[in-house]
Amino acid sequence: MTDLLYLVAVAPFTDMAGSPAFLVEVLLGGVFAGLMYSLVALGFVLIFKASGVFNFAQGVMVLFAALTLVGLLERGVPVVVALALTTAVMVALAFAIERLVLRPLVNQEHIILFMATIGLNFFLEGFGEMVWGANVKRLDIGIPDRSFIVRGVQINQLELTAALTAAVLVTVLALFFQKTRIGRALRAVADDHEAALSIGIPLKTIWVVVWSVAGVVAIVAGVMWGAKSGVQFSLSLIALKALPVLILGGFESVPGAIVGGLIIGVGEKVGEVYWGPLVGGAIENWFAYVLALAFLLARPQGLFGEKIIERV
């Protein structure tokens, strides 16, 4: 009994203290994974905030963006041009989705819009593979997957770049939402569609904007994941990892998506490395969901989710 207690509550921490450089490496790995989750979660948050639609297709949008980028690169298009073209494709996709999916379904129940995004999910998956092929591809955007060592800690250059990019993206988005006229309108639409319409905010424009932004976020996520682990179908499954992030951070919160992602990323890596051996490993696979479950029980709106305002 005391043995078990020792193994659970003491040994991992002495391990950490014994080799701080390794601990820092584990933490950095966690931060990187967390940021990747955050990027996918961000796409969800944006669309959910502005239209109350839970976009099941966000994961596939990440895959689709990565596939498009790789496809263009394979055909010898320079990286910058390929990025610009991919952005254009994602914006065009936003227009198409608004016109063909959202507009005909305006005023339908949320569940119906949700179902529509499931359909979109399958369509994009098939369409992407039809156009660009289904085999696993390498994505090389010119950032080497090399490590350098600072004070005994290994830092991966690719992961570092990804982390910085994510940080910049999040800052820009936060400013966009808080400070700009369109950002304010987006938040207004999220609060009350009808009132937004009544003062002349055109929902169509708002939807196109928000799906475009989600598309751009998907590109960034796709590039980072793709560069790390290749572009393949399983990329769309990281959307599943974004779900617990959303529950943790709150569905409407941009900072929540970031912090939620970091907590889950760091938590699962640390859990895996230090506590994993106790239970035979694979903590990484379930940690996020168990944490999400705990949050659903204790704080359903998430860490930063909008409080449900109720006047009495």
């Binding site: 305006v106 006229r181 304010r184 207004a188 937004a196 009544s198 003062i199 002349g200 905010i201």
Partner: protein, 272 residues
């Protein structure tokens, strides 16, 4: 001049509205609002007041209603089948029943969203000051989340937000709903001032006929999707039927049904 006098700012002719393809809600409504006037649209719950306003502002389509007959003209331009944002751009803003503020935005952000359709950013800042002048309470509350301010203040936010679009005509739907009599009076006084000082025309849908007729110059009474009576505010408030049915001034008991109606109306007030 002569043509201005004959052509009202807003004219609604014979409008028929059907919900969900089957339910006939408006059965040929005609009314008009003159430039710079306040017109009251009176009637009980479900008479079709809100539907009339939504037909004008174009918000009807978001709830599966459809104008199947009739013409709505704003300054001689047909507004039917226009996008709500286009209608706002042309100068008609609706303040919806039940306030509908953006709860998670601050009071000031709520007001600023009202200026969305406008391209002149600096003028919007000036109009913010104008709104704060008319609603000094909102200036005090500018940093608060709109969901947390009082009901009266929310109504002020809703009106102020609509003002930010610089409308020529405001469609004001039931501003008295759920508010204490003192506040209702305060809000109506401000509406009257806006009309006097800023030349804002108002089409005011209200159950509270006494209040509405105090600020309006002209009134229409609706029942079951039809206009049943119209006239100068004074004429209407002196009409015996109106006194009895809507103003609650004369004998109770002469008509059995009146009791029920009145009882029902009073209970609704408590609930809302």
């Amino acid at each position: 001049m002569a043509s201005d006098a004959t052509r009202p700012l807003l004219s609604v002719k014979n409008v028929e509205v059907i919900y969900d393809h089957v339910i006939l809600v408006l059965k040929g409504v005609s009314l008009s609002v003159p430039e710079g006037g306040i017109v009251a649209l009176l009637g009980a719950n479900g008479a079709g007041k809100s539907t009339t306003l939504k037909a004008i502002s174009g918000l009807l389509r978001t709830e599966r209603g459809e104008v199947t007959k009739g013409v709505i003209e704003f300054r001689g331009d047909p507004t039917l089948r226009r996008d709500p944002s286009e209608v706002v751009r042309r100068g008609i803003v609706q303040v919806m029943e039940g306030r509908h503020v953006f709860e998670h935005l601050t009071v000031e952000e709520n007001l600023l969203t009202g200026a969305y359709t406008r391209r002149d950013g600096h003028a919007a800042q000036r109009d913010l000051d104008l709104v704060y002048r008319y609603f000094p309470r909102l200036a005090e509350r500018r940093g608060f989340a709109a969901g947390y301010v009082s009901g009266g203040e929310q109504q002020m936010v809703a009106i102020g937000r609509a003002l930010m679009a610089r409308p020529t005509l405001m469609l004001l739907d039931e501003p008295s709903m759920g508010l204490a009599p003192m506040l209702v009076k305060e809000i109506f006084d401000i509406v009257a001032r806006l009309n006097r000082e800023e030349g804002l025309a108002v089409l005011l849908a209200e159950q509270n006929a006494t209040m509405a007729l105090r600020v309006a110059q002209y009134g229409y009474v609706m029942e079951n999707g039809r206009i049943v009576l119209d006239g100068d505010a004074r004429t209407i408030s002196e009409n015996e039927d109106i006194k009895e049915f809507y103003l609650g001034l004369t004998g109770v008991g002469q008509r059995k049904s009146y009791r029920d109606v009145k009882h029902y109306r009073r209970r609704k007030r408590w609930l809302s």
